[in-house]
Symmetry: C2
Subunit: 297 residues, 2 copies
């Protein structure tokens, strides 16, 4: 099997890279956290000395990083991927970042003779661990076909959504929808609880009807247990909604609901709860309504 | 099988009453629209001359009506159910109405010696036709047990959610959540489409991931076909959100997202589109963003 570079071994990147190793690929990895590198090396990867070193030793480089500046630095910075990669190398950025930054990096990559895909994912840590991620891919059809066998090792729903940048656009759409569903669930549970109904009953009925959604199935029962351990942090979702709003502003699309939920995530951060799971948005509403969503004893 | 009264033979009541007939119940029905009565009589029901007449001829009366004033008139008005029913009769109101009105009617019913349940449903016309409704029932446990075999003929997810009035509360929670999901879908599709992505691809990826919800599975493809035939009308959902907001105000629960979507449904009505399916809320956003959500040719 081909040798693959993987940069970014965090909550998402670590399980994703291990799936590639387990599928038989020879992996060359890099992360700024030595313990993360050691963990993946113990699983069979080789450590590189820099991002450029990863690129020199492989023909395909995957990046899975927290935010736009990280991807900028890893690809285009000193000792970055662009400085080490061979002409014709395939770069796959699976991070969720600004479509504007993403397009700038694409232009540089193409000018330098590289192939590049944007391929952000949905499904969170669980999706990464279980290899059931949704992967939304933008780029040239031939490059998508080349990368498809790798995507199939890491995810389940893999869709070529358009030309380069379309992946980040669809990821923004995903984050818009999930954010509003979190707020929808919060409003339903707080209203029903304060009006005297056991929220466990509300979840039971609503997930059997038209309101059925994965957000409530996965996080509704955790709210009742007062478990706000992420999952996906408010801080990251706030970042993603800022990306969505900036993209919307660029294209001339008003997003009234998204703007509202962005401000409620901002309230979570102001309250020192940026590290909560995004379902923790319910706590802002609970404080306003002076009630806690939990089942009666 | 017992003789059952059924009042209100509209989009929902007609298929629901026919399921009872097909299960072997002898039905006595009433509606102000003679053609609706004729249709259900052709399926095997007997026609009554008034709501009181329905109550005189049966021990269990089901009502399925559009709004609070209708239920008030049918139960407590002249020649209404209360004036015809025997002591101990069971009245089951399956309409979605104001919890305040509903509680007033309960007090009258109890004072007159009747048993009463509130049992609003979710699932829409399709749920009624396919007998897969979610039914959220409030009232005494013994009354719930008595009515359960009837509910099982009309629905699939049947939950006793609490004492009388709890059914309407949970229905309000359901409508809050579905309304915000409609707006969430609209914002995601309009953003993605205007940013150049085929909305069919967006639906494909999002329904494979964390944003997965029945609202998008059922109505997403219809939006692409520009089909806004209800389903469930904006006018009804606007009514339901007003009920939810009034209930929230009564209990002291701020609902910022619900308030926003209520105003967007109001915009639909102002635009003369109160008869659209509630997924038609996307058209308000399309007009603001100057784009139409449809796949490229």
């Amino acid at each position: 099997m081909a040798s693959i570079g993987f940069i970014g071994l965090g909550i998402m990147g670590k399980p994703m890279s291990k799936h590639l190793i387990n599928a038989g690929h020879s992996l060359v990895v890099y992360d700024i956290v030595p313990a993360a590198v050691a963990d993946v090396v113990a699983a069979g990867a080789q450590a590189a000395s820099s991002c450029a070193d990863v690129a020199r030793r492989t023909d395909t480089v995957i990046t899975m990083l927290p935010d736009s500046p990280d991807v900028q630095r890893v690809l285009a910075g000193p000792d970055g991927v662009f400085s080490g990669a061979r002409k014709g190398a395939l770069i796959i950025d699976m991070s969720s970042i600004s479509p504007v930054v993403s397009r700038q990096l694409e232009q540089q990559a193409v000018a330098l003779g590289f192939k590049i895909l944007d391929a952000p994912v949905s499904g969170g840590e669980r999706g990464a661990v279980e290899a059931t991620l949704s992967i939304m891919v933008g780029g040239e059809p031939a490059d998508f076909q080349q990368a498809l066998p790798l995507f199939q090792i890491m995810g389940k729903t893999i869709v070529h959504v358009g030309s380069y940048g379309a992946g980040q656009v669809v990821k923004a759409c995903n984050q818009v929808m999930v954010a509003m569903q979190m707020e929808a669930m919060a409003e339903a549970l707080v209203l029903g609880t304060k009006a005297g109904v056991d929220p466990a009953k509300i979840i039971e009925v609503l997930t059997g009807g038209y309101a059925k959604c994965r957000v409530m199935e996965v996080r509704g029962p955790e709210i009742l247990k007062r478990n706000f351990k992420p999952g996906f942090k408010v801080d990251f979702h706030y970042k993603d909604l800022n990306i969505a709003m900036a993209t919307a502003a660029e294209y001339g699309v008003p997003l009234p609901g998204t703007a509202l939920v962005r401000e409620l995530f901002s309230a979570m951060r102001a309250a020192g709860r940026g590290g909560y799971d995004h379902s923790g948005i319910v706590t802002i509403l609970e404080e306003m309504a002076k009630v806690e969503v939990k089942s009666p004893k």
